[in-house]
């Protein structure tokens, strides 16, 4: 007697041919990302910016140009020698943008790490365990969402001093709420899935289920949010540095370069233009990249 499986297989239409090496999630995502032209261009532009601020100081921008005042070249408009002009004590704006970029980008990245760690942890705990923990964490999230972050960041930088760790931590700790909500929703639905039930039946511990089984399935929104959070963190840093409470001179940041620029806006407008252009281009590229990543990682969008 034939096996039932074989009989049934004869009745069925032929299954679609299976590729030998079916592309995995990341491979598919990579292909989709490469199709997003704006996203690819933005990523390339961003790489240029990152390369300029990391390699520039090593290769072609002398430290003195950014830090040592030169009374002979005060407030000069852009020229062949000083591409972006000089500031009110004769420092080269281009060099300061390169050095300031290191600080602004580093703060953006590190603050993002803080936000993502806090947001994923709280969201995962709330979604996975539910009940009292969920209620408490989500009410806390609601309350945090209701406080305009910039007010608290100002207060924190004033009280704790405008040091790099303070700035990074206060920006990071005040921007984790959205990712926490997203994570909670994902954990809430994923924990009901069969693979979690299977893991639980095998006696896998909660911690392991959360980080080993559920989180990998929720990684796409984390990647997208992380990208966009870098942009938001850079915007926040430049804003508080512009207010004079962030990075303190003589250390340059894209934000505090604009603070000095405003007093001289009538006589030396180029001081205000270039640092802002850099912020704008960087944020724009990050947002385009985040958009492309969102499309690329969306499992509902096939190639």
């Amino acid at each position: 007697m034939k096996e039932i499986g074989q009989v049934l297989a004869l009745d069925r239409p032929r299954p679609p041919r299976i590729e030998k090496n079916p592309p995995g999630l990341w491979q598919l995502a990579g292909r989709r990302f490469l199709r997003h032209r704006a996203g690819v261009m933005a990523t390339l532009a961003l790489l240029v910016v990152v390369a300029a601020v990391t390699l520039g100081p090593l290769l072609f921008v002398p430290r003195d140009a950014a830090f040592r005042p030169d009374p002979l070249v005060i407030n000069q408009p852009p020229s062949a020698e000083h591409w972006f002009g000089t500031d009110q004590v004769g420092r080269d704006i281009f060099a300061r943008i390169i050095y300031g970029g290191q600080i602004s980008l580093a703060i953006g990245l590190l603050a993002m790490v803080v936000s993502i760690v806090v947001g994923v942890l709280l969201g995962a705990v709330a979604g996975y365990f539910g009940g009292l923990a969920d209620g408490a964490i989500m009410r806390f999230t609601d309350a945090m969402l209701s406080i305009p972050g910039i007010f608290l960041i100002i207060a924190l930088t004033v009280f704790l001093g405008s040091t790099l760790p303070t700035i990074i931590l206060s920006i990071g700790f005040l921007n984790w709420m959205i990712i926490a909500r997203v994570m909670r929703a994902l954990f809430l639905s994923l924990k009901e899935q069969d693979f979690v039930m299977a893991a639980r039946c095998l006696g896998v511990k909660n911690v392991r289920i959360m980080w080993g089984h559920i989180l990998p399935n929720a990684i796409a929104p984390v990647v997208v949010t992380a990208t966009l959070t870098v942009g938001e963190a850079i915007l926040t840093e430049t804003a508080i540095s512009y207010l004079g409470l962030g990075i303190q001179p003589p250390l340059p940041s894209w934000g505090n370069m604009l603070k000095n620029a405003q007093d001289l806006i009538w006589s030396a407008p180029w001081l205000a233009i270039f640092p802002g252009v850099m912020i704008f281009i960087t944020i724009l590229c990050i947002n385009f990249m985040g958009d492309a990543l969102r499309d690329a990682l969306d499992p509902h969008m096939r190639l």
Partner: protein
């Protein structure tokens, strides 16, 4: 309906308490409220101890919180360390200026983004649609304070150089001359443009997608089928439903409008509450900072409450779902 409203009000009380708890303990954990006195050389250690006692800073933190909460509820918001004026009076002196700025920007934002959103949705994939999308991407990525500086360079500095009618770059009224409504409006143009840009970018995109969703619904097709003019279908049938989700978004955004106003007030030297917050933050003027934070929290919770209630009024589905 009454039950729904009462329940919403009861829910918002713990949220409000939570906000005050967070702000109080964050500021308390991070700062020494006596720092402004400690740095003064003419104040001795004994004076400091006496001051701490007067302000209650020698008590445990949770006792301080309860005292402070009692004072806030009874309307005693303390005195500024810097000017020794009553904090509540100081805030109410500045709040109207901020509200002028915010309300104008709010109305402008809603009008412009609804217009852009409808246009983009009804002209899907046209040049104009891509233009709106492009604008919204730019607006979303633009650092507000820098946009302000650029507007100042163009409309205040350059226009004056070129002999064109220029706009003022700072303040609410000219330093010389009578304050008038015309002057106020002229001074409002640039700050409102900056404050609205980011929200216009987000709302127009949001409305575009919710409009597209609604335009695909059967009742819109029915309206078209029974021969109503396109304008009536879009304006009366589709827009109403597309606006409901936007309403929540807009009301929940109000805290961030305060944050934006703070920066805009700084750029344009607007004598509002955000600027006062910044001025007093630099001097670690604890009572003023706490006062402004509490006031904003109250306004925020109030906005959320209004959002919830108006939502239920507009959309009967919410009300019924909640009653069952």
């Amino acid at each position: 309906m009454a039950r729904y409203i009462i329940r919403r009000i009861l829910i918002s009380i713990p949220v409000l308490l939570g906000i005050t708890l967070i702000t109080f303990f964050l500021l308390h954990a991070s700062g020494d409220p006596m720092a402004v006195y400690a740095s003064n050389p003419s104040i001795t250690a004994e004076d400091l101890a006496r001051l701490e006692k007067t302000y209650g800073f020698d008590k445990p933190v949770y006792v301080q919180y309860l005292y402070w909460l009692r004072n806030i509820v009874t309307g005693n918001w303390g005195q500024s360390f810097l000017t020794h004026q009553d904090v509540l009076a100081m805030i109410f002196q500045r709040l109207p200026n901020t509200l002028i700025l915010m309300v104008t920007a709010f109305v402008f934002t809603v009008v412009v983004s609804v217009a852009l959103g409808i246009y983009a949705a009804t002209h899907k994939y046209s040049v104009g649609d891509y233009f709106v999308t492009g604008i919204s991407f730019f607006g979303y990525s633009m650092p507000g304070f820098w946009f302000g500086l650029m507007l100042i360079i163009i409309f205040a500095v350059k226009f004056k150089e070129w002999g064109l009618p220029s706009l003022p770059a700072a303040g609410m009224y000219p330093i010389r001359g009578e304050p008038s409504l015309v002057e106020l409006l002229r001074h409002l143009v640039l700050p409102v443009a900056v404050l609205s840009l980011n929200s216009i970018a987000r709302y127009s995109r949001y409305l575009r997608s919710s409009m597209l969703e609604v335009l695909n619904q059967d009742y819109v097709r029915t309206a078209h089928a029974k021969g109503l003019a396109g304008r009536v279908v879009v304006g009366r049938h589709a827009l109403k439903n597309a606006l409901i989700p936007l309403l929540t978004l807009v009301l929940l955004d109000i805290p961030f409008l305060f944050g934006g106003a703070l920066i805009v007030e700084q750029v344009f030297a607007w004598p509002g509450m955000g600027r006062m917050y910044w001025e007093h933050a630099v001097w670690v003027d604890y009572p003023v900072l706490m006062g402004i934070l509490v006031l904003i929290s109250i306004l925020v919770v109030l906005c959320n409450l209004i959002a919830d209630i108006s939502y239920a009024f507009i959309d009967p589905r919410i009300r019924l779902q909640d009653a069952s």
